[in-house]
């Protein structure tokens, strides 16, 4: 019989109540923001004549789901994946294939005839079924990530080696999706906007609204999942792996399982994001979803918002992507310069990202600039006569 370990001292009631209050508060804030996104912002943007932005917002919210996954593995566990485009694309292609197959019986998608293929390849068959597609969107990326992660983490390959291997895996998937015209339409990718879903065209505004709402809801769900994962003992384990993996091993834990698990979860999030993004942008191509640049961009969203802060991942995604849209609409050439500078700046000046900075130094900095707060020290120092004496006589 296993005895459960009771804490030696019961936590004080005040602590419990405070935790409870913080939890309720957080739920309330998330609910308010979600309602704002669902009810207030779309009509507001449309009223301002910026209807296009609603679609962009939906797409970027979908990307934010992927960013949550990146934050989980990079911010919390310290694994920098440069290949999350794989899982994003797997999710996107799964839904894309289902949409391509919404045809009268006996027909196969148009592009096959271009390459002289008259019979549907076998691996397309299951995508006739909607439940299977829903499953495939997140399960296939999860399985691929688990397999790749197991092979890599088992051998304690980590740090930059892991990053390089994920990037190489990305190139492999790119070559496969890009080169196989007869199987998956190669460079041209899959278009989703002209096919039908739920009896309507996928580019129909009503359908797009549904996907916008789905993006918001799944983002909230993803946030809740990540928050739950990272707040308890699991979260402490992940941070421990990030900060000192050998010590975790010496303490009797095997990090491999945790790493594979969290890598698979983040792949599932990326797959869902890929599906939502694809259906809202109308097309998925290897050169967009599977390019090395896109996968590294995902990392920079998290870095800008703040590593190991889940809010930061969402905030950073929206910020960087809207900056990209606005900048590349106005000056297409400047965007790459700006993005490069962003990488440099966020790594050297703001290593904790915007939210991380606000949580640590920024708040005090703002207060001191506004003149609201004095330099805070230990309370005991404030009453120490010697310190008082030094302060008065140092002339500063």
């Amino acid at each position: 019989m296993v005895e459960t370990l009771e804490p030696a001292v019961e936590p004080r009631k005040g602590v419990k109540a405070r935790k409870r209050r913080a939890f309720v508060m957080e739920v309330a804030i998330v609910a308010v923001i979600a309602l704002l996104l669902l009810i207030v912002i779309p009509p507001l943007l449309s009223a301002l004549g910026q209807g296009v932005r609603v679609n962009q917002l939906g797409r970027y919210l979908a990307l934010a789901i992927a960013a949550l996954g990146i934050d989980l593995i990079w911010g919390y566990t310290g694994l920098l994946s440069l290949g999350h485009g794989i899982f994003f694309a797997l999710g996107g292609y799964a839904l894309g294939m289902y949409l391509q197959l919404q045809l009268p019986a006996g027909q196969i998608p148009d592009f096959f005839s271009l390459y002289g293929v008259s019979e549907l390849p076998a691996f397309w068959q299951p995508f006739y079924s909607f439940p299977f597609t829903l499953l495939a969107i997140w399960l296939i990326p999860t399985l691929v990530a688990a397999a790749l992660g197991y092979l890599v983490f088992r051998n304690r390959i980590r740090g930059v080696y892991f990053s390089i291997l994920t990037q190489a895996a990305l190139i492999v998937f790119f070559n496969f999706f890009n080169g196989q015209q007869k199987l998956i339409n190669g460079t041209n990718g899959l278009k989703t906007d002209t096919s039908t879903i739920f009896g309507m065209q996928a580019s129909d505004p009503r359908i797009q609204t549904i996907f916008y709402v789905l993006s918001v809801l799944l983002l909230v769900a993803g946030y809740a999942l990540c928050r739950w994962l990272t707040s308890g003992r699991m979260g402490r384990m992940l941070v421990a792996i990030r900060d000192d993996e050998p010590r975790v091993r010496f303490s009797g834990y095997n990090p491999t399982g945790f790493k594979v698990f969290v890598f698979a979860i983040s792949a599932a999030l990326a797959g869902i994001a890929g599906a939502l993004y694809t259906v809202q942008s109308g097309i998925i191509t290897p050169s967009s979803a599977l390019s090395t640049a896109f996968s590294i961009e995902m990392v920079i969203w998290v870095a800008v918002g703040g590593r190991a802060t889940l809010v930061g991942a969402i905030f950073g995604t929206l910020l960087v992507n809207f900056a990209k849209t606005l900048l590349s609409e106005q000056f297409p050439e400047i965007w790459l310069f700006f993005q490069g500078a962003l990488f440099l700046a966020v790594v050297t000046i703001l290593p904790n990202g915007i939210i991380g900075w606000l949580r640590t130094d920024g708040w005090f900095w703002l207060k001191s600039v506004l003149g609201r707060d004095r330099l805070s020290t230990y309370p005991s120092l404030e009453t120490d006569p010697e310190v008082e004496y030094e302060r008065e006589n140092s002339g500063d």
């Binding site: 930059v160 390089i164 190489a168 496969f176 890009n178 050297t348």
Partner: protein, 384 residues
Amino acid sequence: MTPILESLFGGLSIASVLLLAALGLAIIFGLMGVINMAHGEFMMLGAYTTFVVQNALKKTPLSDIYILFALIAAFIVTALLGLILERGVVRYLYGRPLETLLATWGVSLILQQFIRSVSWQLMLGIAIFSALFFGALWFAGKRLDFERIRSWLIAIAIPISAAIAWFVCDILAKIYKLPFTKPWFGTQGVDVTAPRWLRGGLPIVEGYQLPYTRLFIIFLTVVCIAGIYWFLNNTPWGLRIRAVTQNRNMSACLGIPTQKVDALTFAIGSGLAGIAGCAVSLLGSVSSNIGQQYIVDTFMVVVVGGVGKLVGSIVAAISIGLLNYVVASNALKPLISFSPQLTAIADFFASGPMAKVVVFALIVLFLQIRPAGLFPQKGRTVDA
């Protein structure tokens, strides 16, 4: 006989390019544990330097041997840039390899776009900006309270200098128009033509010849490796580099200036990338994203070879190159023709991109047996 010779040579020539590109990366990674994502872009800059040198020497009697000047120029340009990168960015990030990776990726993006849009206007703008900004810093550096106002000064000086530079360039662009604003290279690729003595090839068997450019690249690779080996083993600075590679803290304790060693190594590694770029430019058209084609393959060479020993990179490059060529050209087809299934599989993978799929799968399998590469550094640290 001919097919075997052909695949051997084809594999070797892929391997030589890979090795030349990976050499600098391996030295830098071995010494500092940082991955330089801008390595491919340094190669690209080396290739563009070759193009510039070729055009500069076109009408002179030196045009036949321009490639020698181009090699030297490419080495110097990229080594200087590497030095700037190390002193300006990388040295602040030691101990944080993942951040270094991201920062150098940012540099590679900037370099790619720079090559596309560089013009007299942009160059003048950068010159004015640097003069104003660094001038202001230098001027303020004389003040006693410089350290205190430094961050404010930088925050103010950047927008002001940028605004002035932008304004001046805008006016000049309106006066001088196209010659001033036209990009030097543009988004189109540029072509480097090999000098006359490198055209054609060495006939070996009837109907098959070894191209001189490929032979030249193999020769160049051998020279570079010999040079690096000589430098590392026979010079004082080489000794210091080897010492820091083996044990950084101990070397620092013994009075080796590790910062200088880092800077020097980064410069040499980047310079080798420039030479590799010069070699690559002989093989085909050069465009601003040429670095991206090579970067992952060269990383693979370093990962398979293991850190700290150059011989690992050499063996890894040759095996990856041969494997790549054999799979892509389907050279083994006569051997497996007895089985239709095997032939079908081999046919499926017989193209450049698909060969990479096979190579990657084999590399992942290989790392299951030897996670630290072919020739790992032996030690007792847990983080090996």
